[in-house]
Amino acid sequence: MAQEEQSTGSIYTDLDDSGSDEEINKWERTARLWRETLKEHWAKLTDELSVKLSMLTVAAFMVIAVFAPFIATHRPLERQYQGDAGIIQAKWAEPSLLGGDTEYLLGTTAEGFDIFSQLVYGTRAALLVGLIAAIFTAGIGTLVGLVAGYYGGKVDDALMRIVDFLYGMPLLPTVIVLVAVLGPDLWNIILALIILQWRSTARVIRSQSLSLRERPFVKAAEVAGAGDWHIISRHLAPNVLPMTFLYGSFGIAWAILAEAGISFIGLGDPNTVSWGTMLQASRAYSALSFGAWWWFVPPGICIGLLVISGFLIGRGYEEITNPKIQ
């Protein structure tokens, strides 16, 4: 019975069959519930072409990030020296794709770094920042939102005042100050982003769980003697999941944009190559005035592609969460 019911209304079935199948472990049932919900969302999400394309883009970048050492033709921070015997100088080379007679696919930077390889390795930094920051901001935000919305009262007040305070902090300037305090390091940028960015998820999830907790199925669970944590994890959480994913996918996009901005300003990690640091270097060496567009055009295109994919996946999810805008 459980199997059939779950394909239609996965979230509500666990009340009906509670007690009937004692032999199934509590954790197994929770896991099954989550699996079903995710499957449902996946099916709806992959329905749309733009979302599918975006997922392919993200997947392609992931493959590039994982296999970066095999794809890159050179080491990203290893100077490629050119010059006549005895005189070693690092200088930029035109891309071989454009007919420059060098071995460098997209040319080299003024510092003598291979641009193609930097681009490939930059994918790692972007995805690392995007995914980790998004997972944590969405996770922390959801947890705080659920707790605040479910308990209400003083707990809610206290948590929401923290969120209000965070909303008073301008994003980039705050990250700049935090990174200046913690030191320019990719992990510190991620940490600074997490500290600030869970605010939006928390606010939205809170208002959702405020209304959910008044719904009959939650009241019924309360009457049946379910504990707080049980209600939060099994009744509220699956229902706010679409919102969590929505804010998660937007979070990826925002984090990548923010990292690029921070690096561009000059507070990026000097030991890692990211698309932002590439842009910063190109500006520092006046690539603009020299017309060395192969240096600064590609990183921005990569940022744009990845970020727009995040936004489009987010929008696909928005249509699940808000049927009104379909």
């Binding site: 008073g168 690029a260 901005g261 000059g266």
Partner: protein
């Protein structure tokens, strides 16, 4: 709870938030590595003179004394003097803030006029190719970093075509800001400098009102009074602008106030790209050179702009929409 007590409560919240931002900032800057006095103290100085200087900055006092002095100064808007240039921070803010505001407001007005208009049409012609293309444009505009669009614009129009200046707010030799702010603003030279960064920003900010307006239009169009308008025989154009758009405008107003706050806060990047002497760029430079008083002061100005505009948005919402109740 009535309206008056809402205003009082919200005002209290405003004060508390400002205090919290100030306190966190105070803590953060004290944690920052690097000796702030190294810029003013030369190595040839005797230890005695050095101590005297540190003393004069008040950096030797116990932390709580420094903290209370900080709060006291915050209330009277005294942010101290720059370690770097010895100018009062208030003067520095007064110099750079108008530059940021001119740039941001210009971009904002253009962005919201275009965004709202496109959003109205996009919501009205739902399902059309026009709607899809506006949504894609809006998303693209928000996806590509503004500083990158700025770089590309500078490259094409500045470096290659030479039609826009490469950096700054005025050309050398025009006297710039020293001739007086308004004398500077109304010159062709200034407009030439303003054009590119304002256009780039407007393109970026346009997406937000466009998407909100579209969603809001979709919601309004499903309401009964639109059918009544049709039944009365009003023309489509009248319904679109006089009835639907006017009602759909409500969420835009609060969103605009909040977005303007964040725009001022986010001025950091665009000002850096175009070397626009605004408050965001000044903040970055102050952080990079460990000029705490300036960094602190400019940050507080940026943060309070956001906090204050959020406050205005909250109050305006209740004022503009009679359906809002305070409970």
């Amino acid at each position: 709870m009535g309206k008056a007590s809402f205003v009082v409560r919200r005002t209290l919240q405003l004060v508390v938030t400002l205090w919290a931002v100030g306190t966190v900032l105070f803590g953060l800057f004290r944690l920052m590595p690097g000796d702030p006095t190294s810029y003013v103290i030369s190595s040839g100085m005797t230890q005695e003179a050095r101590n005297k200087l540190i003393e004069s900055y008040g950096l030797n006092d116990p932390l709580y004394v420094q903290y209370f002095r900080f709060l006291e100064n915050l209330v009277v808007l005294n942010f101290g003097q720059s370690f770097h240039s010895n100018q009062p921070v208030t003067d520095i803010i007064a110099t750079y803030m108008p530059n940021t505001l001119v740039l941001m407001l210009t971009a904002f007005v253009i962005a919201y006029i275009l965004g709202i208009t496109l959003g109205v049409f996009s919501g009205w012609y739902r399902g059309s190719r026009f709607e899809r293309s506006t949504v894609i444009t809006a998303l693209t505009a928000r996806s590509v970093p503004t500083f990158y669009v700025g770089l590309i614009v500078l490259w094409i129009f500045g470096a290659e075509l030479g039609v826009i200046p490469m950096s700054g707010m005025t050309s050398l030799g025009t006297g710039g800001q020293s001739t007086g702010f308004f004398d500077m603003v109304f010159t062709v030279d200034f407009l030439k400098h303003l054009m590119a960064p304002a256009a780039v920003l407007a393109f970026y900010y346009m997406g937000y009102p466009l998407l909100i307006m579209r969603t809001s239009m979709l919601e309004v169009l499903s309401e009964d009074f639109i059918d009544v308008c049709r039944a009365k025989g009003l023309t489509e154009r009248t319904i679109m602008f006089k009835h639907a758009a006017r009602n759909a405008l409500l969420p835009i107003i609060t969103a605009a106030a909040i977005a303007l706050g964040y725009a001022v806060g986010g001025s950091v990047l665009i000002e850096t790209v175009f070397a626009w002497p605004g408050i965001g760029r000044e903040m970055v430079r102050a952080v990079l050179r460990r000029d705490f008083p300036v960094a602190q002061g400019t940050f507080i100005v940026l943060a309070s702009t956001i906090i204050f505009l959020n406050f205005i948005a909250d109050l305006a919402y209740g004022y503009l929409d009679p359906r809002v109740t305070y409970d």
